[in-house]
């Protein structure tokens, strides 16, 4: 594991990608604390403001806290922000949209949606996907068959169609759902996304466990008297971990993209909340022959592209670093 860590650190592209993701994650986590204009504060004009570079327009007073319903922690952070920065806020570094909302603030706040989705995908993949696959692969025989046929069944459902259908149903009864069950559209969307992301992980882990369980070190553990759970948790899972990690870095961008795509189609996150997919669609709509407001589509797309690229670079580097043949390949 140490070798892997060193190999990863030696990879410059991976270092850059990791730093970028870390910075983004911090910005997204502490978004309420940053001296950004509030992402929902409207300032109606007939034209969106073009980007003004920080050296042209660094910032000004005039911050008004306007948000959607925030969590308790986030409201505390906003209060703290007001104590630190007062009503000072940054200028329109990346421009604003037609309603005068600051694009940088919206991108930073929108990244929270992407990270939420990433976290959700990671959790379902790690918890449900890994255990499902590991149990199926290790049990083998009929149990394996039944469990994997269930995965196949879920795979065979057309995901986008299902989302369209269910979101449509939810839209129809959303008032009742919220009042009687406390379920909002976003929750349904997240549950759907989570329900689909673990499937491939289960397949990957099952395949790994199937091949690992025939290895001699597993037989050695059996001769020592190790129980089945012990073999699974102490010997098989640690050896599957590298593959799981690598696969996760591929799943996360795919899911982020899915969220953006579905929000783009109007099936995901709803205004006034923001997500990168929503920002991109707003930007695309703003492009008309009469107004070429390029910044509205460029910055959100760039944010999506850069994040996905960083995750893919990191995943690639992780795969190389965790490859046991690495020392020989380097020689």
């Amino acid at each position: 594991m140490n070798d892997a860590w060193n190999a990863l650190r030696a990879n410059r592209a991976a270092r850059v990608a990791a730093l970028f993701l870390l910075a983004l994650a911090l910005a997204s986590l502490f978004a309420p604390l940053l001296p950004l204009p509030s992402p929902a504060a409207l300032a109606l004009r007939d034209r969106p403001l073009a980007p003004a570079w920080p050296w042209e327009h660094f910032g000004a007073h005039g911050f008004t806290p306007e948000y959607w319903k925030l969590s308790w922690i986030d409201s505390q952070l906003v209060a703290l922000r007001e104590r630190i920065f007062g009503d000072w806020q940054t200028g329109p570094w990346l421009g604003t949209d037609a309603k005068g909302r600051d694009l940088l603030a919206r991108i930073v706040w929108g990244s929270r949606t992407s990270f939420e989705v990433a976290l959700l995908a990671s959790l379902t993949s790690l918890v449900i996907g890994v255990s499902w696959g590991a149990v199926a692969g290790y049990a083998g025989g009929r149990v394996d068959n039944a469990m994997m046929r269930f995965v196949d069944l879920c795979f065979s459902l057309p995901f986008v169609f299902l989302v369209i259908f269910l979101i449509g149903v939810v839209n129809e009864y959303r008032a009742e759902l919220e009042r009687d069950f406390g379920i909002d559209r976003e929750t349904v969307f997240y549950v759907l996304l989570g329900a689909f992301t673990w499937l491939t992980m289960a397949r990957v882990v099952r395949g790994q466990v199937l091949s690992l369980k025939k290895r001699e070190f597993v037989e050695a553990a059996r001769v020592l008297g190790a129980s089945r759970p012990r073999i699974l948790f102490a010997h098989l899972l640690p050896n599957v971990l590298p593959v799981v990690l690598v696969y996760l870095t591929l799943t996360v961008p795919a899911v982020m993209l899915y969220e953006a795509f579905l929000s783009f189609l109007g099936l995901g996150i709803e205004p006034p909340k923001v997500s990168w997919g929503l920002l991109a669609v707003e930007g695309a709509e703003a492009l008309t022959p009469l107004s070429f407001d390029w910044w509205l589509v460029l910055w959100p797309s760039l944010a999506i592209a850069a994040t996905l690229l960083a995750l893919n670079v990191l995943g690639d580097a992780l795969r190389d670093a965790l490859d046991p043949r690495l020392p020989e390949l380097r020689r």
Binding site: E216, E219, A220, A221, R222, L224, G225, A234, P238
Partner: protein, 343 residues
């Protein structure tokens, strides 16, 4: 008379696409307390399958394996558990047999944890002791298997097997993955450890020189059956079965003078498939002495293990009586004919 480990009529068949693989057939074996038994034969003759049945990695198709009177062959995994401490196994390839992500110190600690032996601190001390016993340093216990040399890995494998203080150690070709110089060290280690822990061991090998060095008694297997057994010294000095003779003759000598004089018996062809064993004596298609047995008896009738009239402990399964093997001369052949004529 009841030996520590007693195997009677052991049979292991595998279902395969090509049909039934008869890996082990009617194998009898005893291992006394502290005995050093060698099991030799070509690859594919069922040596490893026998070993895997003994340690419970395979379930025998038929026959019995008794450890101090308890039948092991039909036990469930749970029932096997207390016997794990008494029979341990050393694998052929120590790199494959160690978890690549586990520190080797933890690998040796693991059996103690599994069987709940001692308190954590005592376990650590025991691991320390075991590492010392197999000639490894404490610093090496922090490494992982791929960071050690072949010999060091096998030492770890042995330390792990010894951690439970077994009465019987089954060694499945423990030397074949090692360099010759390292083999010598490990051989030395076995000798030392077997005495120190009063172990009985079953050494499976195709290396006759090592078996001669390490074992008091030797069994020769061919196609799932024992074809000859006897005290090591006698078996190597006057092998009775033509297959044993061919095996011994195939061992080269480092002394060029001896090497020139070495009797060479080239066996024709591959060992037959256990999918479709030959009729009669399984060795007959390759046997150089087949012609010396009249009436095609080798093809028709399977020879039973018969004791040598001079030493009952030395048994072989061949239609030719032992005396005729001493030389393949015409006199020997005539002798054979007259003896065969007797009932």
């Amino acid at each position: 008379m009841s030996a520590l480990l007693e195997i009677r009529g052991l049979r292991k068949h595998f279902e395969s696409r090509g049909g039934l693989v008869r890996a082990v057939e009617e194998l009898d074996l005893e291992l006394e307390r502290g005995a050093r038994l060698g099991l030799v034969g070509e690859s594919g003759c069922g040596k490893s399958t026998t070993a895997r049945c003994i340690v419970g990695l395979e379930r025998p198709s038929a026959g019995s394996i008794r450890l101090a009177g308890t039948e092991l062959g039909t036990l469930t995994q749970k029932q096997w558990f207390p016997f794990r401490r008494r029979i341990q196994f050393v694998f052929q390839d120590p790199l494959a047999a160690l978890d690549p992500r586990q520190r080797v110190g933890d690998a040796v600690l693991e059996p103690l944890v599994i069987h709940g032996i001692g308190k954590p601190r005592e376990r650590r001390a025991r691991v320390h002791e075991l590492f010392e016993a197999v000639g490894l340093s404490q610093a090496q216990s922090e490494r992982r298997a791929h960071e050690l040399s072949g010999g060091q890995r096998q030492r770890v494998g042995i330390a792990r097997a010894l951690a439970l203080e077994p009465e019987i150690l089954v060694l499945d070709e423990p030397l074949s993955a090692l360099d010759v110089s390292v083999q010598a060290q490990i051989v030395h280690l076995f000798g030392e450890l077997a005495q120190r822990y009063s172990l009985a061991y079953l050494l499976i090998s195709h290396d006759l020189a090592r078996v001669r060095e390490l074992c008091d008694e030797v069994c020769v297997m061919y196609l799932g059956r024992i074809v000859e057994r006897g005290p090591a010294a006698r078996l190597f000095a006057s092998p009775a079965h033509p297959y044993t003779r061919a095996l011994i003759a195939a061992v080269p000598s480092a002394d060029p003078r001896l090497e020139r004089e070495r009797e060479r018996i080239l066996l024709a062809g591959e060992p037959p498939s256990p999918l479709d064993p030959p009729t009669g004596c399984a060795f007959h298609p390759r046997c150089p002495l087949r012609a010396e047995v009249p009436h095609q008896r080798c093809e028709r009738e399977r020879p039973q293990l018969r004791p040598d009239p001079e030493q009952a402990a030395h048994e072989s399964a061949c239609h030719l009586p032992l005396a005729s093997h001493v030389s393949g001369s015409a006199a020997g052949r005539m002798l054979t004919d007259t003896k065969e004529a007797l009932p």
